[in-house]
Symmetry: C3
Subunit: 291 residues, 3 copies
């Protein structure tokens, strides 16, 4: 047996081991543990987000059990980011003054060891969005980036066309771009879509929860980003935090859609589902696996 | 028969012909055709609108089948307006910086041949609002203006008193003002109210759908403006696009109100109704006629 | 009997008289009278408030029967505040430019004799918030301040820790701070919480309506402030206006919670309850007493 063969066997063995561990981990219990902690600790999550979703993401964080605060003034974002247990930055309705506040908040969060979750809404649609994202992320590497496939492709430098703020690509098409970003920034990247992929430099997790009605409600992607902040506040594993947030979004979405004739009712039931989520809902619905 | 008599007969004949055509057009089919196109094409509608309604108008556009994007930074509005198939400008919570972005976006939309729908929220209530509207519209003539009677009267230079952002006048009181604006800017003017009047330089259409609960929900006028953008994206007849938007607002409003004890439930059912709208709903409810 | 004894007896007599009057006043009738006036007169309430709650507070004002307007541009706030019958200022998502507009609006409201209701969201959480509140209130004394216990403690100069925008203290802990502020500014102070205390320089009223689900919905504190503006527009007694607003919030909250599995449904039912409120709801539920 040559050295190379031994190495290959060793790698295969390690892969088998990882697979075995993945299969025996009780994923539902891990996720439920995060929810229990969020409800018990009500972690303060500082959001600098867009005007469209401020109300809905604040309500989703409250329904989950976290404590949201929205603050964007340059005079206070450093102080607020240091007080909070996670920072969520979302460029959905960006402007120059807000970008400067995002930069200040991200620096303060990094200096205080707080996780930073970044949502590159509409990256690729305009130069201003793409360049703002690249500049911010280069200066302060984020903990987790969550975007749709088009946005992730655009951030990685691929030519994925973004139509406004909606993706024109599937999640799988963006997995290489996600890995590029994960390696570049040393972060976790969530590519959301019909299935969600959560990608680190060496692992990929797939979450297959969710419902087709969800893209017909504005800002559910932004809500996923906000909830990722709450999970990152209580779970030091960024990959798990990101995956758990997407799973909870999808599960609450399935529960809401089952009772909804349309997107109006869906929004109401979605908050009710987040609020009332029980361990049995997680156990019976969770579709999360190593990919 | 003198020349004058011949001319009069000719005019009478033309009027009779227009009336005949109006009566034989299948209005429901035309409106349903627009809805089908919006659902199939999901036209991108660029909104520069007010903070109060950003979430609700985005959700209404999504429920109808269009694809909304909100962007207001001077650095990107030109690019975004060129990408989109319609531009919606709403001055509800205006400020100097946003007005400049509105101007840039309107110029880009005009340069790219995109329809511009303009909502003069609160024109007449303060000098800043009235003058901003007049300046913007003089520089870039809009395709469609939608306002309540007080706002349309104020824009036309009449002394209609606006109480905050709510009208103190009926739609019929503003029909001459609407025609003045339609002629001045070469646009279509929608005067919304208990009945809606859609006015061009030479025609008037009346839509009598709707429900008294609608003024008790904030931003339904702004939603009408946003949906007008979606219809203008798929229908080159601005008069028809404007009338169809008001009819769909009114019909979805009737359907929602029938199930609602109050304005909270109404908002939920309204989005559900937009999402689930069927041709039979249009056929059984449409109240649209030449006026 | 010495002079001092006579004075004490006189004070005791006055106290007994006030208590007697309190007990015989038909509180429900007074509150219902305010609601009837709001519905009949639809007072214009000018709000300079935060991005998170603009939609929900506008809808709550409309559901109650008032007419909300949101306007923040320096160019128009003076004019708008003079048009309106009450001004509501809320610093939830403050920035330097907005603070300047708040100052201008407050001066215009004061100059025109309009009541000013002030909400110090997050005072104590950052220096910018605490100092902005103190500067604004010192320059233009408000009519009514409504905050949670932490915010009221922070404004009064106590060391109450604010966690983001949520209180860490009970209302009772802030009663001395509330009285300090009431005396300093010659205003009424509402400390909201599980029970609400409404404090003037010499009186305290306690409102015990409400439901534990209410803090799980974003912006209900801000909504209480907005409704206080509507009541202050029709009732010259600031103490009564403030107390009536908190009672209506609590009663509508109880009615909504009774039908709601979670905070999504709650928001819908809350607006329906405000809209449909009847005198019998007030009579059967009101828990308002001198404290």
């Amino acid at each position: 047996m040559t050295m190379v063969h031994a190495q290959i066997l060793c790698i295969l063995g390690a892969c088998a081991m990882i697979e075995f561990v993945e299969k025996t981990i009780d994923r539902s219990a891990l996720l439920w543990n995060d929810i229990t902690r969020i409800r018990a600790e009500a972690p303060l999550v500082h959001n600098i987000t867009n005007f469209v979703v401020m109300n809905t993401t604040a309500n989703a964080l409250l329904a989950l059990g976290a404590s949201p605060v929205m603050a964007h003034a340059a005079e206070e974002v450093g102080e607020m980011a240091a007080l909070a247990r996670a920072l969520v930055v979302n460029i959905g309705t960006l402007s120059a003054a807000w970008v400067e506040s995002m930069r200040l908040a991200m620096r303060a969060a990094a200096a205080n060891g707080r996780p930073i979750v970044f949502d590159p809404v509409g990256a690729g649609a305009t130069r201003f969005r793409t360049e703002t994202c690249r500049r911010l992320l280069a200066e302060v590497p984020p903990s987790i980036v969550r975007g749709n496939a088009s946005e992730i492709l655009a951030l990685a430098g691929a030519s994925g066309a973004t139509k406004g703020v909606d993706s024109t690509e599937t999640s799988d098409a963006a997995v290489d771009a996600a890995r590029t970003l994960a390696t570049r920034y040393g972060c976790v990247v969530t590519v959301s879509g019909a299935a969600d992929l959560i990608v680190s430099s060496d692992r990929t997790v797939r979450v297959a929860n969710g419902h087709p009605m969800m893209p017909r409600v504005t800002g559910l992607g932004c809500t996923a980003t906000a909830l990722t902040g709450a999970f990152a506040a209580v779970n030091p594993s960024l990959l798990d935090a990101a995956a758990h947030a997407m799973a909870v979004m999808g599960i609450a979405g399935e529960m809401a859609a089952a009772q909804s004739p349309g997107p109006g009712t869906f929004q109401v039931r979605f908050l009710d589902a987040l609020y009332g989520l029980q361990e049995s809902d997680i156990r019976s619905r969770l579709k999360l696996e190593a990919a």
